[in-house]
Amino acid sequence: MRRRGFLGLAAASALAGCGYRSVDAIYSQPAGGVPKQYANRVRVVFWSSFGGVNGKAVDGLVAKFNESQQDVYVEVQFQGSYDDVAQKIAAALVAKQAPDLAILSDVTWERFFLNDALEPLNGYFTDGFGPGVYQPKLFGEYVVKEQSWAVPFARSTPILYYNRDAFAKAGLPDRAPRTWSELRSWGPELARVQSGGRSLRTIAFAKIDGDWQFQGNVWQFGGAYSDGLDVKIDQDGAVAAGEWQREMVHGLGQAYMASSPSTDFANGLVGVIQESTGGMKTITGKAKFEVGAGFIPSEVATGIATGGGGIGMLRNISSERKQAAAAFLTFLARPENSAWWTTQTGYLPVVNAAREDAELKKLIAEQPNYGVAIAQLANARQQDAIRLYGRNSNVAIYTGLQQIYADNAAPREVFRSVARRLEAIGDEVRRQYEEKVL
């Protein structure tokens, strides 16, 4: 049985239908437990997608918030991956339940926005919480027609992690490659390094969700996923990016598809990976070697995709719950909290003033890796609309990539059929997109 199948079904009936749900109905709160000392406060349920090191950092922020005031109790409920959270919300709305706040990824907040499930946030903005406070690029991605629908929180870009010890053994310079061609030319040197009884492979591509990194790769090779909702993935630039990766895997044997590239990297099996900056603390903590980080290489152009999670407020909740939820968002927008989150995870500081925080500055001075994504943010931009607004576009794209990595399929053929799928997906949302976004 496939849970994605079911939850997709639930999501479809919850969102595509609209008839199910009155946009201003007030839904009940998911159950949970409130410790005795917080019993008299307004309870806010916050659905999170962070486990492990980053989950502990979320818990830390929430605990600090609950200690800092007398009126609101925030309860974090971990729901799995970004997609799991989105599907849980869709299923909850069908059941007439709604969490108050939820982590929504770069590709999930749009569908809740399009279906009127998110609370517009402009009305809650104050001096300490709003447009002037956040990093403008990241804040602006959630603004549609001058209304904010979520605020940035765990925002990231991919960065290039490299194994400094292996690079030194291979006689390579201690830096990330500047272009993909340069990385390819380093393959033979890296292959001479032995790791776990095998020769080191150059790069690992992700089996699931690799379409996020690949968005940037397509730009770097001069292509695009789409222009608006007009699909471009079957055109030259994207095909060249796919062909470069196919050649690395099947022609040169320097690359492979991994179910978790960061696990393989941390265990020293592969020389470089493109991974979210949000994995910095986790990867650095697990790796038994010196981890290096640098910009994602270019090829004919530069450009990387922003990504990661923001926080959205659900619309179908009482105004008391909304006010309480806004109080927590305001707390997260304080520079010291944003900076602390960055030091504990590696995610970008989403609040402008957080960059001046003494703790963060000290960390970056000691471990420059934490500053890479911040410096690289100048090259980052919002992704092509088809990936953002098309429901399950990401799945269609990474399934195509899997065919290239696993079956040695020709990228032009693969992307031609992916393009047909994306066009169908685009047609589903075109009416809503033109009405609400353009």
Binding site: M1, R2, R3, G5, F6, L7, L9, A10, S13, P30, A31, G32, G33, F50, G51, G52, V53, N54, G55, Q77, F78, Q79, G80, S81, K88, A91, A92, V94, A95, K96, Q97, G196, G197, R198, S259, S260, S262, T263, D264, A266, N267, G268, L269, E275, G278, G279, T282, I283, K286, K288
Partner: protein
């Protein structure tokens, strides 16, 4: 006689296919991370480490998951088997209108894939307010067409003289069921109990969708949490967690297995 060596080779091959992954699971749970990725594979860990188990136990509230899984498995199995036995008895021994049609409907329910009923069940449970409760976890699963079918087919093989004799002695239906039919069906009953218990224990999709909080989640969902540690799966820890989840069912199977095998030979002798 000549076939003997060949048979052994074939048996060893099949055993390797079944036991190989289990052995890999077991040995990985005791390995250090570096050994897991070693090539050629390390078949026996150099230094047995218990660290993976404590890491797994600490990564998620496994004590709570164990409790929830135990409650759901015990309550779910009792209700499901009781339901199946009573229904099967009715279909085997009672006379009532539309019996054939109703039985065909139950058989039909067996053919419907689980996906199809998930969404309606979810909506029903949601409108009853049972999301994130034990009732929501247990009640939708207590009707089992498969268990009913197995029990009914077995009841039909029992000699009618025995139940007739019980009726002559004045036993009612419940007494006949409890004193005559069930004792004669012990192996099949145990088989059904074991199958049901394993099914309840391993159930993943339903607990995942009807629970929201760690305090209501079960072990298989706990394994997902263990694996979701922000993309950095530590396989040793995951295997240790899997072993913890696997162990109780393995024990139940080992204990019950004698009866199941006994049941099969018993049936064979009857001819």
């Amino acid at each position: 006689m000549k076939a003997r060596p060949l048979q052994y080779v074939a048996l060893l091959g099949v055993a390797a296919i079944f036991l190989g992954p289990l052995y890999w699971l077991l040995s990985t749970a005791f390995k250090q991370p570096a050994e897991i990725y070693q090539w050629p594979p390390v078949w026996w860990p150099d230094q047995l480490t218990w660290e993976n188990f404590s890491l797994a136990w600490k990564a998620a509230p496994f004590d709570r998951f164990f409790l929830n899984s135990a409650i759901i498995t015990v309550a779910g199995t009792v209700l499901k088997v009781a339901n199946a036995v009573l229904t099967a008895y009715a279909f085997a021994y009672l006379r009532f209108p539309f019996k054939k049609v109703l039985f065909l409907l139950i058989l039909g329910a067996m053919m419907v894939p689980g996906h199809v009923t998930l969404l309606p069940n979810y909506l029903t449970v949601a409108s009853l307010g049972w999301i994130n409760t034990y009732a929501g976890l247990i009640i939708p699963g207590i009707g089992s067409a498969f268990a009913t079918f197995l029990m009914r087919q077995h009841f039909l093989t029992l000699p009618s003289e025995v139940t007739d004799a019980a009726a002559v002695d004045g036993a009612g239906h419940l007494r006949t069921l409890w004193r005559v039919v069930l004792p004669m069906s012990q192996p099949m009953l145990i088989t059904v109990v074991v199958i049901t218990a394993v099914e309840e224990w391993n159930n993943f999709v339903w607990p995942l969708i009807v629970t929201n909080t760690a305090s209501m989640r079960t072990l298989p969902v706990g394994l997902l949490i263990l694996k979701d540690e922000e993309g950095l799966a530590n396989w040793g820890t995951i295997m240790a967690g899997t072993l913890l989840v696997l162990a109780p069912m393995l024990l139940i199977f080992l204990v019950a297995q004698r009866y199941i095998v006994g049941g099969i030979t018993q049936g064979a002798l009857k001819g």
